[in-house]
Symmetry: C2
Subunit: 140 residues, 2 copies
DNA sequence: GTTTATGCAAATTCTTTGCAATACT
DNA sequence: AGTATTGCAAAGAATTTGCATAAAC
């Protein structure tokens, strides 16, 4: 996994504490994170506004992507290696647990080809599967 | 198509003006509607709060469902005939145009079966396809 | 007549903007 | 040194809550 410093440099972003810490957090967590998750889990305190701005910067540079969610919360996750400057792969499959509301990227899963009606042109495909995650299924 | 009155009765909801008008609107529009779309398009004026409450009531009774969206706006659409009291089919395919931001349900499309990793249990599957709709593709 | 929905006011939450101080290159 | 980022204050959306009035059953 690439270090936050190198990742930032690669995307032509300045190496600030907030950005490094948030990137590190994304790399540690396999689950998608909402603004409030990030705010809570960062050991150093950063202003709420700074976190919003950092997330938007990361979105624009293609470091992270929005993760679909029925709960209304905006969640984000790191873009995989597939998303380089050259080629962006935007076939995201996410799984959200209905019990613990954790959302994870299932990077290995491929979305099968879908036949759109005449006239439609697909550019991005996102699949959200909701159900029970392994941990919650074990619980009573 | 079932009349709003009968549809409401079927879901054990009171037949009020606001509910009937909003249901009628959903039946006319094939696209998914956000709160603000509904507020704008209703001929009779209802309080913003009443519209919020109506949408939540419809959600709880399974008359409508949330439509996934990357823009952050919460959109809703009527549940198809497949969603009866007995059997709920929650395989939603939606298409959102990147130009006009219209979202429509593609009810006819089936989502191909997906193999989840060990331990995961799927209950609902949602597919969001983004791209250009037929109308926007014609434009220059 | 009883229960439920509506409208209004106000509170909460989420997100963005402006600007001076600070940190990065 | 010059430019971009941060924190703070405040503004602006989106959504929820409480309560009295009005409408549905």
């Amino acid at each position: 996994m690439m270090s936050p410093e190198i990742l930032l440099r690669k995307h032509k972003l300045r190496n600030t504490g907030c950005r490094k810490d948030i990137l590190k957090l994304f790399q540690q967590e396999k689950a998608a994170l909402a603004h409030c998750d990030i705010e809570k889990r960062l050991s150093h305190h950063y202003d709420r506004v700074t976190i919003y701005r950092t997330l938007n910067t990361f979105l624009e540079s293609g470091l992270i992507h929005k993760v679909l969610d029925h709960s209304g919360a905006t969640k984000y996750a790191l873009c995989g290696h597939e998303c380089s400057d050259i080629k962006h792969r935007h076939e995201h499959v996410h799984f959200q647990c209905k019990q613990c509301h954790t959302t994870e990227c299932l990077e290995r899963l491929e979305i099968p080809a879908i036949c759109l009606p005449e006239g439609y042109q697909a550019q991005e495909v996102n699949l959200l599967i909701e159900g029970l995650c392994p941990e919650c299924r074990k619980k009573p």
